[in-house]
Each structure stands twice: as C-alpha cells, then as structure tokens.
Assembly symmetry: none
C-alpha cells in the first residue's frame, strides 16, 4: 500500500483529545465552584465530574490553584470581551449615548455567568496566582481612559486618570451589586430606570447634564 504524505499528523488527533480533556476539566471546575463553593472543590471531585482520572487532571494542571486560575482566566476573558466590544461600538458616539451603552454592557457582562462570578468574587481567596479576579477592571481602566481622552472636549474634569478610576470602579460596583445582591433592582420593568440612574450619575459627574429637565423628568 502506498503511503501518502499525511496532512493531518497523528498528533493533531491526540491534541484534539487533550483539548477536550482540558476543557472538560475547566468546565468541571467552574461547575463545582458554583455548586459546592471553593472550599469544597477538591481536585478529586473535579476530576470525577470531568470524567477523567485524577492523574489526567495533574497531567494538565499542576495544582488546584492552576485549575481555578484557568476558570478565572476564561471568565475574565468573556467579561472583557463584552466590555471591549461595547467600547468599540461606541468609540465614536458622544458620551450621552456611549455611557448608557457601557452601563448596559457592564450589566450584560455581569450576567454572563452570575453564579460563577459571585463565587469567584466572594470565595476565591485573592492569593498567589489567584489575585486576578479584578483583572477585568484593570483591563477596562486604560481602555475607558482612552475613550475619555478621545472625548475630552465633551467632558469637564480636571484629572482624567482619577475620573476614569472613579467611573470604572463605580460602574463595576453598581452593576456587580445589582446583579449579585439586588436582583430586584434589575427586574424587567425597573432595569431601564437603573441604567438611566447610573448613566446620569456618570454624565453629571462629567459635567454633561446641563440640559436635563430634572424637575419634571426625575421627581415623581
């Protein structure tokens, strides 16, 4: 039999298998984190849920920490994605439009996997390699600052760095709290009001609300 050159070497087949295994492990870790909490998430259980042996787990992840790190990485990536996409979309929009969209994006981001987000935020110790749950915020800061810089003429702030820090922190805290501990605030009919309030908080801070008819628009 003639042996034709192989375009897809055997290795790729096994690489695919590896990939599947790694994904299964990360997914299992996330699921267990949500279901049982960080402290009860043992490597043995993770392996069992992933359907692989404990040995296989350690072939790909050198420690429990590394596993959780991968989950954080993945989650963080997804969140950042949502944020960056939104930022790109509104890059050219005036802040009145942009900020509202960004608030919406922040809420969407927190809704990607709220339960996981909560566990990651509340139970995973910010220790060793695990410090980076706040990475999203750290990533978002320079991006948002850049947006602000580009729209400097529209805003009225003395210290752009400080303003960016304040706004990013604020939006993250408000959307996080809303999604995680105050679902009532985001109930269908109220969600828009919440978005509006947060947007106004930001706009006014940036000195761009002069035209708002508060007396009529906001008081009951």
């Amino acid at each position: 039999m003639v042996q034709r050159p192989q375009k897809t070497p055997r290795k790729i087949a096994s690489q695919k298998r590896s990939r599947v295994t790694v994904d299964a492990l990360v997914e299992a870790t996330a699921r267990i984190l949500v279901k049982d909490g960080y402290d009860r998430a043992s490597t043995n259980r993770i392996a069992a849920v992933a359907g692989v042996s404990i040995g296989t787990l350690y072939q790909y992840f050198p420690s429990k920490e590394a596993l959780v790190e991968a989950v954080i990485e993945r989650h963080t990536q997804e969140l950042s994605q949502v944020g960056q996409t939104a930022l790109l979309k509104v890059a050219a929009s005036p802040i009145e439009i942009a900020l509202r969209e960004l608030v919406r994006a922040a809420i969407d981001a927190h809704r990607v996997d709220p339960k996981l987000h909560r566990v990651l935020a509340e139970q995973v110790p910010r220790t060793g390699r695990l410090e980076d749950i706040e990475a999203v915020e750290r990533n978002a800061l320079p991006l948002f600052r850049a947006y602000l810089e580009a729209h400097r003429s529209e805003v009225d702030v003395a210290d752009l760095d400080l303003a960016a820090f304040i706004l990013v922190t604020t939006v993250e805290a408000l959307t996080h709290s809303a999604v995680i501990t105050r679902p009532d605030v985001l109930a269908d009919e109220k969600a828009d009001a919440f978005v509006e309030e947060v947007t106004q908080l930001m706009l006014r801070y940036l000195g761009r609300d002069r035209g708002a008819k508060r007396g009529t628009a906001r008081s009951k």
Copy 2:
C-alpha cells in the same frame, strides 16, 4: 474561714476572666488572619497565639467559623460606629456639607484596620455564617436613606431607595478601592481632591451642583 465582704463577686471575677480570654481569642484570630491569611489560620495556632489551649478555645467558640464571625462582627461594629457617628454629626447639615463629611468618614472607616479589612474582604469566603462582611453596607443603607428622606427638599431624585442604594454602594466601592488597591489616590496632597471628586459625583447626581463653576473650578 472568715468571709470578707466582697464587692466583686466571684462570678463577676470569672466573667471578667472569660471576657479577657474571649478578647484574646478574637484578637489572635484577627492577627493571624492578617499575618497568615484565612487558609493558614488554624484553630490550633489561634489558641497558641491567644495563649490558651485548644480546648479552651472550643469552650468559648464552637467552631473556627464562629471565631472568624466574631472578628467580622467586631470589625463591622467599628466601621459602623464611624459611619453612624458621622451621620449623626451631619444629620442637620445641608447635603453639600454632609456628603463631604460622609465621604471622609467612609475613608476613615476603611482606614480603621485596612489590612484586616482587606483579608476579610478578599479571603474569607462569603459562606455560611460568614456572609456578613457586607453587613456594614446593609446597616448604612437605611440610615443614609433616612438622611436623604429628611433632606428631600434639597435633592432631586425620583426613587429614594434606588438613590440611596446607588450612593452607598458607590461610596463604599470607591473608598474601599482607594484604601485597598490605590493608596496613591489617597496620598497626602491628593486625598482632598479625591474626597472632592467623590463628593461632587454624589452632589451632582442628587441634582445639587447647579451653581458650581465647572469651567473654572475643575478644568486645568
């Protein structure tokens, strides 16, 4: 045996001793939490640092959780104290004055024991009885809402509950972030600017900055 008149009955004496032991244990827990982190804080070590036996520890606290709970309780109490005192002081002041004072108080509160605060916030799992690090915020909310209600004429918001939630969450997040991860923002010469920014964020949100001369006061 002659019974001499006793002003302080034995029971009180032992209660006093108990009190001392309990305090020593809570204090030891806090110190170890700060020094070694939550995961490495073992009951045996806590007992050792407190200078009592592990058996004695369990005479006063039924579990490690209870110990950490007590630390949280104590810390939370101290924070709330600062906040409530500040709120009382400015109860009659107009919001322009009051909010600025409250921001200052929030920073002070976070500075009570920043290292412990950080460990409590970042490493102690919000699980079981340990969920209450956010208690401060929960305590502060109705108080602040009451203040807002009392000063309703000065503010221009549609939903007082929502506004209170937004402001309390925002102040807590900003002061927390500033104290814990951005000490630069609170450096001596910058601290006032930070307080001012946060105060303005709040005032404008409440619709009370119409007179501010932004063009001159804030832009460089």
Copy 3:
C-alpha cells in the same frame, strides 16, 4: 495541602502518655521496616501498627523521615553503647587482649538487632537527615584512636589516624558482612576462629605478632 517537611521532633514527650505513644511509634516503625522494608513502610501503616491515629503520629513526628531517623538514632545508640562499654573495659588491657575483645564486641553489636541493622544499612537511603547510619563508625573512630594513642608503645604504625581509620573500617565491614551475609562464618564452632582471624589481621597490622608460631598454630 502539601506541606514542607520538618525534621526535628515536634513535641518533647514530657508526659507519660506521650512517652508511651512515641515509643510505640518508633517501635512500630522498626518492626515495619524489618517486615516490609523501607519503601513499603507508610506512615499510615506505622500509625496503625502503633495503635494510634495518623494524626497522633504527626503530632510527634513531622515526617516519615523523622520517624526513621528516630529508629536509626535508637539503634545507633544501642550499638555505640556496646562498643563503648567494651572499649572502656579493655582500656587498660594490652592490645593482644583488647583487640580480641573489641572484635567480639563488634560482633555482639551487630547482633543486637541484625534484621533491623540490615534494613537500615541496605534500604534506607542515605539522604537528608538519614545520612547517619554510619554514625556509629564515626563515633567509634576517635574513641579507638584514643585507645591506640594510649597504647602507642605497643604498636608500630607511622600514621595513627590512618591506622585507626583502617582498623575501624575493617572491623565494621568484616563483622557486618559476617553477621549479615555470611552467617555460616559465625556458626557456633566457627565463630571463635573468625574472631581469631580478624584479631590476627589487626595485631599483625599493628606489628605485634612476632612471637606467633604461625607454622604450627595456623596451618592445618
């Protein structure tokens, strides 16, 4: 969580109960070492055989290594005891008498617990704190050298240090080999001959055999 091992015993066994436990653990370790070999001696099994829980084991010994170290220590102590006692007894005797006694003592020492001795010599890796199985020899060297020095007039060697090293090493090797791998050499009727040969080896080396009638005394 995996820990970095500690080598020095954790607790001074001051109380009677502790002492009993510690002894039981060391004894169990020795027994298992003999029965199953070093590699199969697990801390869990040692604890089981000692009749205590694994936790108790670790209360007294920080690692498996420490346990084996204690066994070595104990065994080494016993051996040295035999040797030193013998050396003391013959301190004033001429070398013709003394060396013969010392050879006997060396054999006795190796017979204290030959099986344990063998395992210690053959299976315990000379690693970390476990390097000291040769301690007996190291202890014996200066003592024997001192004896030689005191009897300098009886011996004819250029380098006392070298001679001591050679003799101690030789006696240890010969008695060890005899006891461990050549029990036939020490069989009842042959033991004396073996002692005699080793003694002669030493005496002649030290230049003290001039009078020996070898032709008649040694050839068959």
Copy 4:
C-alpha cells in the same frame, strides 16, 4: 514494489536502533540516579532524558526496577572488568607484588564512576532484583581465592575460604570508604601511603612480612 538488494537486512538495522535506544535509556537512568537520587528518578523523566517516549521505555524495560538493574549490571561489569584484568596481570606474580597491584586496582575500580557508585551503594534498596550491588564482591571472591590457592606456598593461613572472604571484604570496604567518604586519604601525596598500608595489612595477615623492617620503615 521492487525489492532492492539489501546488504544489511532490516532486522539488523532495527537491532542497531534498539541497541542505541537501550543504551540511551540505561545511560539516562544512570545520569538521573546521580543527579536526582533514586527516589526522584521517575520513569517518565528517564524517558524524557533518553529522548524517547515513556511507551518506548516500556518496550525495552518491563519496569523501573529492570532499568536500575541494568545500570547496576553495567556498573558492576565495569568494576569487575578492572578487577579481573588486574588479577590476570598479576596471576603469576608473588603476593608481595600482586596484592599491592590488586589494592591499586580496587581503588581504580571505585573511581570508575564514584558518584554513581555512591548512589548505587547508598540509595538503591537491596530489594527484589536489586540485591546485586554486592555482586562485584561475590564475583571477586572465587577469583581471588583461586589466586590464593595457586600461591598457597607463599601464604600461611589455615582456612583459605575464610582468608579470601576476609581479604576481599576488607579491601572492598577500605577502598570504598576511602573513595566515597574519605577523599582526603587518597589525596595525591597520600594515596601511595594508603595503598602501602592496606597492602601491608594484607601481607602481614597472610604471614608474609617477616622481613619487613618495621622499626625503620614505618614508625615516624
């Protein structure tokens, strides 16, 4: 398919390849044994260092033990080689010459690969198939006995077996100790003295030193 004439049949080619692989594995095992010690020498690492997959390793060696056995075998072979060569060379020489050469050969043998020799002697458990590090000695014994037999007229011993055992054991112990734990004894200017001492130890034991002028030759 056309079959071209083959001078070297495929089988031989692959045998050659096998040979290379086996050598690489044994060599890798030896290197890792020296570098990391017996306990840390894992088959996976051996395979990696040898540049083959773990599967290939098991194609040639059924177990880790077999691998180590091969290393011992090879090392033992080399040592024996040195010894046998020396013995052959001096087969016809009188013992005064011969023993001195044999002592030198013993030292040389221990210097073939002292680090490996040490690991083999100190860390590899004498268990199962691994018992044979003493094989060298076992091999040497009959050979040396044969030499002694052939030179019976020159020696004055009652029991040739016993004498052979004593001398072989002694030389091995002394050269081993010298090479492994007392390199000072073999320092350039001292090495000859050491050889001389060991040779004298043996010669005198065999009753062949009558002519030695000890008073002048050895005392300082």
